[in-house]
């Protein structure tokens, strides 16, 4: 089974992959920063407020102000904390989020024009690491991301932090099961773990999108995706009203900012997976890449929309939802899919 994007593409070189990695880092970090502004504005309009208004026209420069605040804030390591692990933890969150993005299609592939010195003629692929088990790799990397909050909470010698990291462990472990099982049914239909094959399978237009064949899996994946990216209504890890700020209680400045960037990068990754696996993904010709950006933007907006509309849920409700509702439904969905495929 061939899993290259289009057959007659130039060879992918190390330089191309490095350029791609730099593009992903720069653009996704910028989007993560801009996302905070969008989030505040969207929440404000949904709650009939104005949101940030004073810095620049309609508060658009609030982003810069926030950035300056994050970079210049005093960096505190608590006295009884374990300093090495305390400093490593935010890096784990940000790094795993970006490594996960290496295996998903972000932006179209292009060749750098020849008139640019040094780099002219280098082909930049659309997927930095086109492994043919892309989906599993992304899920595995997002699973490894749980060490960020976990180690952060355990290293900071703070009771809220410990509660936050305990919640991290149970929430991420439980919802990984639902994510994996819900995405298994589409994988069975397509017969491949590569994002490119998923895209080709749904190339026939809106009618061939997998969401029509697998609506249950789509809803389950979305719910589990919210939990895995720690969004409301499942943001129990840093539930202000209960555990101050959970695992992030003792963090300030850029270390806290890295948790934030990691969370936003994960939101984008989950949006891309949902768009490629269930909503047809991208197409190579014409404005095809605009469609996936619109789909990702819609999922991003949906996360903000849900945050504006729903309250937090209790930890026991979270576990009940995962093990007694979502997981059985996911298993039944897989069994029915298997029976339908065999008959």
């Amino acid at each position: 089974m061939e899993t290259t994007l289009v057959q007659n593409l130039p060879e992918v070189t190390a330089a191309g992959v490095i350029i791609k990695a730099i593009i992903i880092l720069a653009v996704i970090s910028a989007i993560a920063g801009f996302g905070t502004f969008i989030e505040r504005k969207v929440l404000a309009f949904m709650q009939r407020r104005l949101g940030p208004m004073h810095v620049g026209p309609h508060g658009i420069l609030q982003l810069v102000a926030d950035g300056i605040k994050l970079f210049t804030k005093e960096d505190i390591v608590p006295q009884n904390a374990n300093p090495i692990i305390f400093k490593v933890a935010p890096v784990i969150t940000a790094a795993t989020a970006f490594i996960a993005l290496a295996a998903v299609p972000v932006f179209p592939d292009f060749t750098i024009p020849n008139w640019i010195p040094l780099l002219g003629g280098v082909f930049v692929p659309s997927i930095a690491a086109d492994v043919n088990i892309g989906i599993l790799f992304v899920l595995g990397m997002m699973a490894a991301g749980l060490y960020g909050p976990l180690l952060a909470g355990m290293s900071q010698a703070n009771k809220w932090g410990i509660i936050g990291s305990a919640r991290t462990a149970i929430q991420f472990l439980s919802y990984e099961v639902v994510t994996g099982l819900s995405i298994l049914a589409p994988i069975m239909l397509v017969g491949s773990l590569s994002f490119v094959d998923f895209n080709d399978y749904q190339a026939g237009g809106v009618g061939s999108w997998l969401i029509w064949q697998q609506p249950v899996a789509f809803v389950l994946f979305l719910i589990a995706g919210f939990a895995e990216t720690n969004r409301t209504p499942f943001d129990l890890l840093e539930h202000e009203a209960e555990v101050v700020s959970g695992y992030a209680t003792e963090y300030s400045g850029m270390r806290w900012g890295m948790f934030f960037i990691g969370e936003y990068a994960n939101m984008i990754t989950v949006s891309i997976i949902a768009a490629v696996v269930f909503l047809g993904g991208y197409s190579v010709e014409g404005i095809g890449w605009l469609t996936i950006i619109l789909k990702v933007a819609f999922f991003f907006f949906l996360m903000l929309w849900v945050r504006a509309s729903w309250p937090h849920i209790r930890p026991d409700q979270l576990m009940w939802l995962c093990w007694k509702v979502l997981m059985p439904i996911a298993v039944i969905n897989i069994v029915i899919t298997g029976i339908v495929m065999m008959v």
Binding site: N82, I133, A143, S155, L173, S194, R314
Partner: protein, 188 residues
């Protein structure tokens, strides 16, 4: 060339991290280095072209097994060092050295055999997952099913052990408000 650099980098890092796991007296250091060593072992699978096994290593060991370990570690004070009880240094040295020797012999043995060849070689143009699946459901079907039954037994046992008080909710029987109310009543 990249493979060689990556191999030596991963080897040095893995051995170093696992050394930290064994030598360190701090729970947090041991746990972090063990988890990151597991991630690097997945790197070896990727170098060998076994993408699927690499990702399985990531998901199973890093995502699940180590996460459960660390959940157990929550019951300790992770910021303090642990006092280890070493019974006899000579015995530890002897046993450790012998198991190391046996492991080295086992893994070095294939060097002297030229007849070793893959019984189920990779197929060209077929994905990793398909190859693993074919071997798993033909040659190794019985061990696979036995493993499945064992996991089922473990799951049922876990539910029975933990399930005795499953119907009593910790949050529903007595609200915090009721508790305060009762306390106030007692004080009167």
């Amino acid at each position: 060339m990249y493979e060689v650099i990556a191999f030596y980098l991963f080897s040095v890092l893995t051995i170093g991290l696992f050394l930290v796991t064994v030598m360190s007296k701090n729970v947090l250091y041991a746990m972090t280095s063990l988890a990151s060593g597991m991630v690097l072992i997945a790197g070896f699978f990727f170098i060998l072209g076994a993408d699927f096994l690499g990702v399985v290593q990531l998901i199973v060991y890093v995502g699940a097994v180590m996460a459960l370990y660390s959940f157990a570690m929550m019951f300790f004070d992770a910021t303090k060092d642990i006092k280890e009880k070493n019974t006899s240094a000579a015995l530890v040295f002897l046993l450790g050295g012998m198991s190391a020797l046996v492991l080295v012999l086992i893994f070095a043995a294939p060097i002297h055999s030229e007849t070793i060849q893959a019984l189920y070689p990779m197929h060209e143009g077929v994905g990793n997952a398909q190859d693993v699946g074919i071997v798993l459901f033909t040659k190794y079907l019985v061990p696979f099913e036995v493993a499945a039954v064992m996991l089922l037994v473990a799951m049922i046992a876990g539910i029975i052990l933990a399930g005795k008080k499953m119907d009593d909710s910790l949050t529903e029987d007595l609200d915090a408000d009721d508790e305060i109310y009762i306390q106030l009543k007692d004080e009167k």
